[in-house]
Amino acid sequence: MSGLSIDKLSMRFDLPNGASVQALKDVSLDLKAGELLSVLGPSGCGKTTLLNIVAGFLAPTSGEIRLNGSLVTGPSAERGMVFQQGALFEWMSVRENVGFGPKMKGQNPKIARETVDHLLDVVGLHDFKEKAVYELSGGMQQRVALARCLANDPDVILMDEPLGALDALTREKMQSLVLKLWKETGKTIILITHSVEEALLLGERLLVMAPRPGRIHKEYRLPFAEMGVGQDLREVKKHPEFAKNREEILAMIWDMEEEIMGRTEVAS
């Protein structure tokens, strides 16, 4: 049984003041090995919570997650994580950051070094291997984060708005890089994003989530990720289907946002 299965996941946060937030309710999802899933939704709909539970940082109030048949109970090297920013170790060089996972596993340093060098070449940081991470631009830092995750050879890569802090041009380049890495490594990837375009471009499957309680609202299967591999992403965006999907999803999220606003206005 290979792949990731999420079964009836619910998460409720009990607040100190006695209230509680239903961050996720009955979320079920099956991901086959090598699938690329993007998750979209208004803020507060439980995307980060979902990812943290899959990563093993949080235990759900009910439901379970299995990776390749075995139950997820805590963080592990088979589920790599790429954060938005600030998760690199600034006391290590670029090379040491990428080599962190292999070192923790006690891998042979020579083999580890080859892996690290190769990955840094792949993400385009050939000339920055010995630099300190704080000397790099935001985009380069995210390349390091991607390489660090891949160096560990995880089964699943979890990304929480990995490109959210980048400027538009850098972001587009990084989107191409993510597609390229996905195709070359064949990893299962879950990518959370705020951007509808990014979700369409980078999702073989696209999940739209709705808030209060956090749940799956609608799922799409999309051709654009396959189209985008090795392609100019701007060409993909010109596709008529792309525009149609974008408008549909935007309208959907607008409605949700308005509903939230309306509710808070009534509440206040």
Binding site: M81, A87, L88, F89, W91, F100, M104, A132
Partner: protein, 444 residues
Amino acid sequence: MSVLSNLFAELIAILTAILGAVPFIVGYVLLILSCLVVWKFIRKLMTPKKDYGSLKTVTFGDESAVSSNFAASVVSIVLIFILWGTFTGTKLLPSFLHMPGAYEGQFDFTYTAEAADGTVDDATVTVLVHGVGEQPVVPTIEPGDGFAKNDVIVIQAYRSKLLPWDANDAIMRKDGAKIIAINGQAIADGQDMNIAQTRLALTNKGTLNIEPNQGVQMEPIWLPSPEDVWASLVDISTDGFKNFTLAEHLGFSLFRVVIGFLLGAVVGIPLGYAMGLSDWFRGWFDPIVEFMRPVPPLALIPLVIIWAGIGEQGKIILLFLAALWIMAIAARSGVSGVKISKVHAAYSLGASKWQIMRYVIIPNSLPEIFTGARVAMGVCWGTVVAAELVAAEKGAGMMIMVASKFQQTQIVILGIILIGIIGFGIDMLMRWAERVLVPWKGRG
């Protein structure tokens, strides 16, 4: 009520003292401003440099446009030495830069004494005012004739003296003699007059008070000249002071600081880590640390002396305590300051708890620990000097305290300068170590 009025009286006294210093402060500010004007003028003569800053039109209120002016710093330091020199009459400066000094020299005046029966007689008084520290040769004089005999008096500069003019006279004050004129000018008891920069005053009892002009320079016992301080540096670094050379005094102070600080760090850092990582430890030590932190280490000196005496042990315990809480708090906040995303990232890269500690938590806390170490070293340096002031056989603080008891002001000033230089040096060293060892500080 009386407490309040006492406080009020103190306040008035302080304000009066401040008011007395105002002319000097105003003079100093005027000096700064005139240097500024001169500097601006010189800058205008030089070709202006076109850097980014010079093109800014908004500079007032722009913090980044204000950097420390190097010229002003140089002028400031030079000016301190010049002021020091002019008020102490240093030989390092040409004498036209000196403030008027105290009168030194020799002069005569004559007094006219009148006996009870109305006879008058003149006598000459020779006054020798000698410099501080000089051994004057007392001038020899003839007694002269008549019932009033000639006098000689030797006075040290900055001092005044009563002249018992009648002590050697044939008819004394108790016989009814009294001075009626000086240098031919009539004078009565309670009046005064000036001769050769010297105030001569007849007291109500008829003795003569001789008060040479004190000028506006500082007496060496208040403020010795730079060359005196330099001479005492040379002197005590070769001959030593109270059984120990200067290097030993300073070396012992530094040694205490280093040992006390190291002990404090060795205990404090693990304690801080434990407090940052375990809620039991945090709960256990929070009350102790939070109580001990605001207690100034100086307040512990009496207790430490009672417990451990005035030897090395007591000093090192005191410095240990001074460093301990600072280091514990620095390590604690270094641990609590770790971004959860870094810890999560390390876990999902397969790190164990021990590896998280070794590769994430410790390096992440180092910048905070270095900041703490800098503060702790500064506090320890201040504390050791204070502890030595109170009681010690050797050390920088002991040196200046003993010197002040023997009125060796030049050693006191020298000590203060050296203590300042060493404190500054420690801070610079710590900053340098921080730059070299934790270059990622503030870059996360």
